[in-house]
């Protein structure tokens, strides 16, 4: 206990270490940034040692020991939380992307549809994640008592693969998922609607129409071409989505990395904070990488450009 209490006290200079850890994450994050890496390395000589220790430990898979949940190793704590995050984020991102884009394309069909869907989309995307989460909790969790309002599963149940547990899991999962989904949905719908309009005004669209191609074909082509910048947009949005997920988890006390991070912040558990960030950044990088690959597969122009055709 005393050690628990001592360590935060022990860290007046630790923010600097955290900063360096950020710098370290930078070098890892941006592979082209070797110059930055060396610069950060050479900058602070005395703390060099601490820094080196950090890296040393890192390569051994040791992210340090959590202060908050002492003496559990940070990495263990994080690994426990990661599945919940993936479970929450992956479906909501993918589904909202799919549905939102389809919907946005749909909205571009007629003026009337557009006029109703457009403001709706904008309002959705302007909704702060946590407020929507709060509203849903309040409305569906408390007033109507359909869904539970906290945690990933009922405390009374044990983790197992029984149907009962899975059902309960999903039941708890639904509200946070919905709130994330709805806000992102708005964003994609809006983006897609704009891109589709642009594509429908393109030369190839006009050519097809002049040759009497049915609207469906023209729309299909427009959609496929409009998706491309949306995919790029997805990569850029990841940072924002992470923040949104974090906040949503807080509202629902959903034990993902976001929730963990918050607790770490509130308790000044620097190692935990570092660890969480590391994971988040790795996750985002990974996702970016995957998206880049997907983009190359989907857009023939980049492929050809790359082969030097």
């Amino acid at each position: 206990m005393t050690i628990d209490w001592l360590i935060p006290r022990f860290m007046p200079g630790n923010p600097v270490q955290v900063l360096l850890a950020r710098a370290g994450l930078h070098a890892e994050a941006a592979k082209e940034m070797y110059s930055y890496y060396t610069r950060a390395f050479g900058l602070d000589l005395p703390i060099w040692k601490q820094y080196l220790n950090f890296w040393n430990a890192l390569f051994h898979g040791d992210l340090g020991t959590s202060i908050l949940l002492f003496p559990q190793p940070v990495i263990k704590i994080i690994m426990r939380a990661v599945p919940y995050d993936v479970f929450l984020l992956l479906p909501s991102i993918l589904l909202s992307f799919y549905a939102g884009n389809k919907f946005g394309a749909f909205a571009a069909r007629t003026k009337r549809l557009d006029n109703t869907i457009l403001p709706l989309g904008y309002i959705l995307t302007a909704t702060p994640y946590m407020w929507l989460a709060i509203l849903l909790t309040w409305a569906l969790g408390i007033i109507f008592r359909i869904f539970p309002i906290a945690y990933a599963f009922s405390p009374s149940l044990e983790i197992s693969f029984s149907w009962l547990f899975i059902g309960d899991l999903l039941w708890h999962w639904f509200l946070p998922f919905t709130s994330l989904f709805m806000v992102m949905f708005g964003g994609w719908a809006i983006g897609m609607r704009n891109m589709i309009i642009y594509e429908l005004e393109a030369d190839y669209s006009h050519y097809l129409e002049a040759l009497g191609a049915p609207r469906k074909l023209v729309r299909r082509y427009a959609f496929r071409n409009a998706i491309l910048p949306q995919i790029t947009g997805l990569a850029l949005q990841l940072g924002v989505i992470v923040a949104g997920a974090l906040v949503t988890e807080v509202v629902f006390s959903y034990p993902g990395i976001g929730y963990l991070l918050l607790q770490a912040i509130q308790n000044q558990d620097f190692f935990l904070i570092q660890g969480c960030f590391l994971f988040i950044i790795i996750g985002v990088l990974l996702a970016n990488f995957v998206i880049d690959i997907i983009y190359i597969i989907v857009d023939p122009r980049t492929r050809i450009g790359m082969v030097g055709g």
Binding site: P15, A108, T110, I123, P128, W138, V247, V251, I281
Partner: protein, 302 residues
């Protein structure tokens, strides 16, 4: 989408009664007749007015315990009271002020930095562009949360200004990218080449040829940054990294959740702040679409 009237003979179209308008008037005409712009602007202005005069209507301090606890809205406490007996309405209007401040300062700084960097990168190109690009990418990658935590540990007392400045300094990459792209496309246009060929100095070209055409774009970027700043601030406040000596809408929601407003059904505490943010930012976005239609002739519906 293409509606062609099914007629053989057409009626003579009524001439819209405008004598040859000058350029400014043309924009004004479209601006005034654009519904989205009007609605969006109205909503924003409404909230702005509320923010400005609201605090004058209430004589409470936001954190003073002024009344009965958990009190629903009544004639005396328009938005009810919190679990501590603080007046929610006071908190609300003060929070509104805070949000607008963040929007202006944060959005303003963000746009300013973004414009400077984006413009220079787009116009000069080459090495300067590469260099600025690297900086932009670095800033995008930095988890803003991390920096904020560090700042939070250092500064025991944080004000709204600090938060706004911080947001401005971390949110500019988006604006920079957009401005850079726009500058690129404008820079290779013919009228710029003409100016260059006639020997104008680069700075002069920037101001007299390119900038006016970017004005509309700049305005729209500013609006987006404004809205974005408000949202970011709300998120930061919500996780407790916001101002320590003032109230904001995000903070209201934070406190509400923290003190069990949900379970107690105190909707007057947590519904208004989020609603206000949603309405203001949403209105800003809609306004933006309207502005886009005004400035971009191709999008106008005749």
């Amino acid at each position: 989408m293409i509606e062609q009237k099914n007629i053989k003979k057409s009626e003579k179209m009524d001439e819209i009664p405008i004598p040859k308008p000058k350029k400014i008037n043309e924009f004004l005409y479209f601006a005034l007749s654009n519904n989205r712009l009007k609605v969006g602007l109205t909503v924003v202005l409404l909230f702005l007015i509320l923010a400005l005069i609201g605090p004058l209507l209430t004589h409470y301090k936001w954190d003073a315990y002024v009344g009965p606890v958990y009190h629903p809205p009544s004639s005396e406490y328009w938005f009810g009271t919190t679990t501590f007996g603080q007046d929610v309405f006071t908190q609300f209007v003060l929070g509104l002020r805070a949000s607008f401040l963040v929007g202006v300062v944060g959005g303003g700084i963000g746009t300013l930095i973004g414009v400077i960097i984006g413009f220079t990168a787009g116009y000069r190109g080459g090495i300067i562009d590469e260099f600025l690009n690297i900086i932009t990418n670095v800033v995008i990658v930095i988890p803003t949360l991390a920096i904020l935590i560090i700042i939070a540990t250092y500064l025991k007392v944080r004000g709204i200004m600090t938060e706004s400045i911080f947001i401005g300094f971390t949110a500019w990459p988006w604006a920079a990218r957009a401005i850079r792209a726009q500058t690129f496309s404008l820079r290779s246009r013919d009228f710029v080449d003409m100016a260059r060929m006639s020997g104008m100095k680069p700075l002069k070209i920037m101001f007299t040829e390119i900038a006016p055409n970017m004005m509309s774009y700049l305005l729209m970027t500013l609006i987006l940054q404004f809205g974005g700043a408000i949202l970011i601030a709300a998120t930061l406040d919500f996780i407790g990294l916001g101002p320590t000596n003032a109230i904001s809408l995000g903070l209201m929601m934070n406190l509400a959740v923290l003190w069990g407003a949900l379970q107690l059904g105190m909707w007057w505490w947590f519904v208004p702040p989020g609603f206000a943010i949603m309405a203001i930012v949403g209105a800003l976005y809609v306004m933006n679409v309207g502005l886009d239609e005004v400035f971009n002739p191709k999008l106008r519906k005749l």
